[in-house]
């Protein structure tokens, strides 16, 4: 939620209450207020089709409310009828009669001149991995497997640091160009990539180390169709790296970002 916008709408409603405005104003205020909240009040933008549906519901609700008793019907229709019949409003009425079709025509113009956008492919970012893969003629079990060097973290911390350091070497010789120096998907080629590379700070805590190994060793071409294997520039690193180097790189990703890999138990209970 964007707090300033929510507060502004709340204040506006408070003000209307304080001024004891008419029902017609209230109806308009509710409609506009809810629209502003939906359109601008959320951090992640809501699709316009969804907003249209919500606003349809809001319109029906307001209509139902204002027509639910004779008193309310009168309070709504009174000002409207006066506006359309009394002489002192004639000029304003004429302006409104011209302005509303003009706005509608402008809307048609804008809709017919939207910039040309290529068809959108909504890919699945982390599709399910296969049960096992074969890397350099060796079968790797992705469900039951573990990073073969993870156990060193407790049993032999010195050796573990060596593996992390080797992973660091692998990362900065190969991965930095897209995933960036700070692993925030801000490498020097990012402006020319679509889809953009993974930001490791945001994602890897929810993933298992074997999942990362799958993504690294098989790369974009190893994705199922829902992942859009034809678009992503992620190489199949088995063409460049040894198995140990890829496991070391996985260790380094978690070490640098300060994340912990998701454990196997969690997967089992899900």
């Amino acid at each position: 939620m964007k707090i300033p916008i929510v507060l502004a709408v709340a204040v506006a409603f408070g003000l209307l209450r304080f001024l004891r405005v008419k029902l017609l104003i209230w109806a308009a205020a509710w409609w506009i207020g809810i629209y502003i909240l939906l359109r601008f009040g959320f951090t992640a933008p809501i699709p316009s089709s969804v907003i249209t549906i919500y606003m349809g519901i809001v319109s029906i609700a307001i209509l139902a409310y204002v027509s639910s008793s004779q008193e309310r019907r009168d309070e709504i229709s009174g000002p409207l009828i006066r506006f359309m019949t009394e002489k002192r409003y004639t000029l304003l009425l004429a302006v409104a009669v011209v302005a509303i079709p003009a706005l509608a025509a402008a809307n048609v113009y804008v809709r017919m001149n939207v910039s040309i956008e290529p068809p959108l492919f909504s890919r699945t970012v982390h599709p399910a991995s296969p049960a096992d893969i074969t890397v350099h003629d060796k079968r790797i079990d992705l469900d039951a497997g573990e990073n073969p060097f993870r156990h060193l973290e407790t049993s032999n911390p010195q050796e573990f640091r060596k593996h992390v350091e080797n992973g660091r070497r692998v990362y900065y010789q190969n991965c930095v160009f897209c995933h960036g120096d700070t692993m925030s998907a801000n490498g020097m080629f990012v402006h020319g990539l679509d889809p953009i590379p993974t930001n490791f700070h945001d994602t890897i805590a929810q993933l298992r180390e074997t999942f990362l190994f799958w993504r690294i060793s098989k790369g974009g071409p190893g994705l199922p169709d829902e992942g859009g294997p034809w678009d992503t520039a992620m190489p199949a690193w088995e063409k460049f790296l040894q198995e140990d180097e890829m496991w070391d790189a996985v260790l380094f990703l978690y070490d640098f970002t300060g994340q912990r890999p998701r454990g196997r138990e969690e997967v089992a209970t899900k």
């Binding site: 209509l63 027509s67 004779q70 019907r73 009168d74 709504i76 009174g78 409207l80 009828i81 359309m84 019949t85 009394e86 009425l93 009669v97 509303i100 079709p101 509608a104 025509a105 809307n107 048609v108 113009y109 017919m112 040309i116 290529p118 068809p119 492919f121 660091r168 070497r169 990362y171 900065y172 010789q173 190969n174 930095v176 160009f177 120096d181 700070t182 925030s184 998907a185 801000n186 490498g187 020097m188 080629f189 402006h191 020319g192 990539l193 930001n199 700070h201 945001d202 790369g219 974009g220 071409p221 169709d225 034809w230 678009d231 520039a233 190489p235 063409k239 070490d255 970002t257 300060g258």
Partner: protein, 578 residues
């Protein structure tokens, strides 16, 4: 874009934070006062911690520019032990100020592997700038204390100043490296090397977003005033007056839009009434919109290219009753029209490790002895006027320049596309490949980088020309060929491009490429918006008038006091029949 010091390093960063808090003011003051690095090991510790975490992988733990990544990087990471820094406010050859170092860490160097570091705190960047100075003994000599040169504020850019700048640009030897139109294609450009013998390219002044020191007028003025240490770019501080340097700045400023490259993801193909005539060349494309697409290195298939010289291409497209034509342009400092090239030429794996592309290493100054212009131009290191500049002799190149347009062999149904690098076994792509040593393009069908076969139906024709540092290559093909994907108005076709620079020995997989973009054939007759607009307006107007008429008919006969009252008669509501 989160950026966290956390996890195993939290204790380190806490330690660093405490140290910074305690010593920050005293440290930076004393260091700046000395004009060079100072401070005890404890005072430098925070910077050292950050350096080892974020900088050493490229610049090396000893600051010698030999970190893990160095062999894949071009330009190479800075070797801090030399004390030579490109972007400074100090005279040529001098050390940078503390603020200079802070600025370049913060902003990074565009289109190189030096990123910007916006997420480090001011204290962290300051500590880092201090620590970097410990690598070179030059900083500890008080005589070397950096003194910034006067950089007066910018006068207004005018038509006159731009014209004067253009004249000065031509008179002062800028053309020798940067080229007559500023495209980085001067006669000396292919011979340039930096102080360490690595080939280096002059900036393309028509693409300000690639300037290493920043793209604002102030940045351009500063670079021209202080030069770039370690490179052939001299300082014009003494050779030219402030106004003259500002005039050249205004000229460079006028060569590209300040808004940036304006990369897009769709190439709009415009219908033309006149038949497309290759003999007319680029004049065919006057009505077509220019789409600029970013070029990235081919770093997915072996053997990789980490730093293609071309950073972008522009594409324009048109179609007539029978054919579609694409005009592809990019800047290249020299045209390689001899030798050969091909989409599947093999490349030895060792070439990946060289980092810098192997060019013709002549290593001469861009300025000839007899040249009068940069008399006061100073250059660090070697004497810039020692030797006569090498004439553009145009030696025979082993590999020629080349360009390829890639489209799917069949129009994709649904979302499934061929793999963006030369397709895949199930989804082949057509390559319109133009080896620029040859007079015409050839067609290939590719099912992946390892499976590329000639498939020349003769459908694709084209012409290519090189002028003033720019290749202009036109491809033409029937809209509906006997074999190959047809183009239809109103449809999107995936398109990708590859560019090879023969000078950098690019061929086969070693090349710059784009990911998939879209080619959209705009319909010949775009429906006018006027009809629907008028229809909508009239419909709404009719409804309005009907409502108003009904209301007036219904209520005009009633007394005004009744309408003005709080209550209306039953049935007065707007909704529902009375």
């Amino acid at each position: 874009m989160s950026f966290r010091l956390s996890g195993p390093r939290s204790s380190l960063s806490a330690y660093a934070a405490v140290l910074i808090a305690v010593s920050c003011v005293a440290t930076t003051r004393s260091v700046r006062a000395a004009g060079a690095q100072a401070g005890t090991a404890a005072q430098l510790e925070p910077g050292r911690v950050i350096y080892l975490e974020y900088c050493a992988q490229c610049h090396g733990e000893k600051g010698d520019g030999e970190g893990y990544a160095a062999s894949h990087l071009h330009p190479r990471p800075r070797n801090f032990t030399t004390g030579k820094f490109k972007i400074r406010t100090t005279p040529n050859g001098a050390l940078p100020t503390h603020e200079d170092l802070v600025r370049i860490i913060r902003r990074g160097m565009p289109y190189t592997s030096m990123p910007a570091w916006p997420d480090l705190s001011d204290q962290e960047v300051s500590a880092l700038a201090n620590f970097i100075t410990t690598f070179s003994p030059d900083f500890s000599n008080p005589e070397n204390a950096p003194k910034p040169v006067p950089l007066p504020s910018a006068p207004r850019s005018t038509k006159e100043s731009i014209d004067q700048g253009k004249k000065l640009y031509e008179e002062n030897g800028c053309v020798k490296c940067h080229g007559a139109l500023g495209r980085g294609d001067g006669p000396s450009a292919p011979t340039l090397v930096d102080d360490w013998g690595n080939p280096i390219r002059p900036a393309d002044l028509t693409q300000r977003w690639t300037f290493r020191g920043g793209s604002s007028r102030e940045d351009i003025f500063r670079t021209m005033s202080t030069g770039l240490n370690g490179t052939p770019m001299p300082s014009f501080l003494d050779a030219l007056k402030d106004e003259q340097r500002w005039a050249i700045t205004d000229f460079i400023d006028s060569l590209s839009e300040p808004s940036g490259p304006g990369y897009t993801n769709v190439v709009i193909t415009k219908h033309v009434d006149d038949p497309i005539d290759l003999a007319k060349g680029t004049a065919n494309f006057e009505s077509a919109r220019v789409a600029r697409l970013p070029i990235i290195g081919q770093i997915t298939e072996p053997v990789r290219e980490f730093h293609p010289p071309a950073t972008s291409v522009t594409v324009q497209a048109i179609y007539d009753a029978e054919s579609i034509a694409l005009l592809v342009r990019w800047h290249d400092m020299s045209a390689e029209r001899t030798g050969k090239n091909g989409p599947s030429l093999p490349v030895p794996r060792e070439e990946e490790e060289e980092g810098a592309p192997a060019g013709v290493q002549v290593g001469k100054s861009p300025f000839g002895e007899e040249e009068v212009a940069p008399t006061g131009a100073q250059q660090a290191g070697k004497d810039p006027f020692a030797e006569e500049a090498a004439a553009p002799s145009g030696p025979a190149s082993e590999f020629s320049d080349a360009v390829a347009i890639q489209i799917p062999s069949q129009v994709p149904t649904g979302t499934r596309k061929p793999y963006f690098i030369f397709g895949d076994a199930q989804n082949p792509v057509d390559l319109w490949f133009f080896d620029l040593a040859r007079p015409a393009p050839l067609q290939f069908t590719a099912k992946g980088s390892a499976d590329i076969a000639p498939n020349d139906t003769g459908d694709v024709t084209g012409v290519a020309s090189y002028e003033q540092g720019e290749w202009s290559v036109i491809f033409k093909r029937p809209l509906r060929p006997a074999s190959g994907a047809p183009f239809s108005p109103g449809q999107f076709m995936p398109v990708a491009l590859s560019v090879w620079d023969g000078f950098s020995r690019e061929r086969g997989n070693r090349r710059g490429l784009t990911v998939w973009y879209s080619l959209y054939a705009e319909p010949e007759n775009i429906p006018s918006a006027v009809g629907p607009m008028v229809k909508t307006a009239l419909l709404i107007l009719a409804i309005e008038l009907a409502i108003i008429g009904w209301v007036r008919w219904r209520y005009a006969s009633r007394g005004r006091e009744e309408l003005g009252g709080a209550r209306l008669r039953a049935g007065g509501a707007t909704a529902g029949p009375p």
